[in-house]
Symmetry: C2
Subunit: 326 residues, 2 copies
């Protein structure tokens, strides 16, 4: 067990945030059950506020801040779902949010963050510039840094996904969730194993950003290098908090190609009539793959659809045949 | 009251089909509530089997057939949702289904119908050829014709949407549904008024196929001529069964342009993370329009999202600015 985040932390996170988050529905699909020979239960975090599970962690981290610290605001650097999550959670608590964002981020993402009342600080699109920009905001304002995944309160918040899922669906044999920085899968691991020590936890990862698969194989944290995948929410590497939890609790990392991700995403759109983003499709793609199907004694599977934020202007299904060949 | 379809018919239809259909969820959206100043309840028939409400009517019509008649199979001419609905309902009853389909229908639609076990008969893409093809199948096989909307059993089946909606949501002031041939809105009218005589029923129609608006204004059935709209499920005109029900029960027909339809569809995809087809977006677009907003004493509104069958290969959001300007 990793002492940094416990099952009790996740229960307390749920108490703290439950009045602010959606208890998202769990959907089933005869089509996908037929495809896989299992019973699949899709936890729809694409329906969560800001369109992704990220709101849970940001909400927990911000609501847990001591009053004096909270009064000075919060800051992060992100152009993705965490930025919107932070902005909304800060608005709920009534404090200022500062978001350092690469200047080449899509205008629609910047506007979404600003619509929640946060201040955006454009920076050069490098990690160094982002960290520098963040440090400057912290210096100037005294704002508290809320990182996107590598933080115990974030992990505990994301774990509430599994608390709900296991309450909504009885007797799950396994849970599958995507892994990028690892906040979601590590929170889910602790929550799931806390409720049922025999449940099996699988991480789903793109082959183009497979630091988790390589880390688990080597049994040591291997940094992410030159990631390249359509699943833009999973480009980050594991952190010092998330890695040991994953090492201790995740049975196996299943990897899928961008072609498999795109095909799975299309199938979910077409068959379930819900929008999921590529990062969420990674979990679906692994369950459709032969590696997962060949594992014995897995009948009832929870799959976390992590988010639904797709840029409809750029989304194209060039790989139509990949989707249709299924 | 129109004696052809009664509230009791709809209750009986529900008894007959409830074991075969999905009781679809009702979703809400803070975003759309804010847009309209009303409380909106979206009845998600895009999640229905075959992706549209059409399955309810086809299921009722086929299950109601006397055994000897059913044994000779069923036939229809359609390239749309009704064709798939008929094919699946026939498969459930274990009888043959014949579908006359224009030879230029997308291959994906033909394959979907064939996947349910129906036989497809390609014909020239004219109404005359479709009717001729259908007559030939009836002669050869003795199959019973199941029309897409202008039939009491179809209307009763579609009405079950409102039975469920009014059981799922208390104290609705109004119900809004799209109108093409009128099967859905007429069934909904009878079911809703049967449960609550004071409920207000509104039909939503594209300006490019507005025979219902013109018919209601003239108080006589005016045929559809040269319809042109992105809402390809609403190109048909009213029928002799559906028109009198609409005349007697629908308070008003609200019309919207293709640009409004496309913008509403995009907003639903982006904000609710669910796929709806253009015909379903027509109802959403009317509720977003000024005509609806200016009507007093409408607080709780049920909106029927009629279907979610979109061809992802051809779907493009050229009108991005229309969606974003909302």
């Amino acid at each position: 067990m990793n002492p940094m985040v416990t099952y009790t932390d996740i229960e307390q996170a749920h108490q703290l945030i439950r009045g602010h988050i959606h208890r998202t529905v769990v959907l089933t699909s005869q089509y996908f059950d037929n495809c896989t020979g299992a019973q699949l239960f899709f936890k729809c975090e694409n329906f969560q506020k800001v369109g992704a599970f990220k709101f849970r962690g940001a909400c927990n981290a911000i609501l847990k801040l001591p009053r004096a610290k909270a009064a000075r605001g919060v800051v992060t650097h992100s152009s993705g779902n965490h930025a919107q999550a932070l902005a909304l959670a800060a608005a709920i608590r009534g404090i200022e949010a500062h978001v350092v964002m690469p200047e080449n981020a899509p205008a629609v993402k910047r506007r979404a963050v600003e619509d929640y009342g946060a201040t955006v600080y454009p920076c050069k699109p490098t990690l160094a510039a982002r960290e520098e920009g963040t440090a400057r905001v912290m210096e100037t304002t005294g704002a508290a840094l809320i990182p996107p995944y590598n933080h115990p309160d974030i992990i505990a918040g994301q774990g509430t996904v599994a608390l709900e899922l296991l309450a909504q669906v009885e007797k799950l044999d396994a849970v599958v969730a995507p892994v990028g920085g690892g906040g979601l899968i590590s929170g889910i691991s602790i929550a799931s194993k806390g409720l049922n020590p025999n449940i099996r936890v699988f991480a789903a990862e793109p082959t183009g950003a497979d630091d988790t698969a390589r880390s688990l194989a080597a049994q040591r944290l291997i940094p992410q290098t030159n990631p390249k995948t359509i699943a833009d929410g999973l480009l980050t590497g594991l952190g010092e908090y998330t890695w040991p939890i994953i090492r201790d609790h995740v049975e196996r990392v299943l990897t899928v190609t961008d072609e498999e991700i795109r095909a799975a995403m299309r199938l979910v759109w077409e068959r379930m009539k819900i929008l999921i983003e590529p990062s969420a499709a990674v979990a679906v793609a692994t369950v459709l793959g032969d590696a997962f199907k060949s594992m014995p004694e897995i009948e009832r599977v929870g799959i976390v659809l992590s988010g639904g934020n797709v840029d409809l202007d750029t989304m194209r299904f060039e790989c139509a045949s990949a989707g249709e060949s299924q």
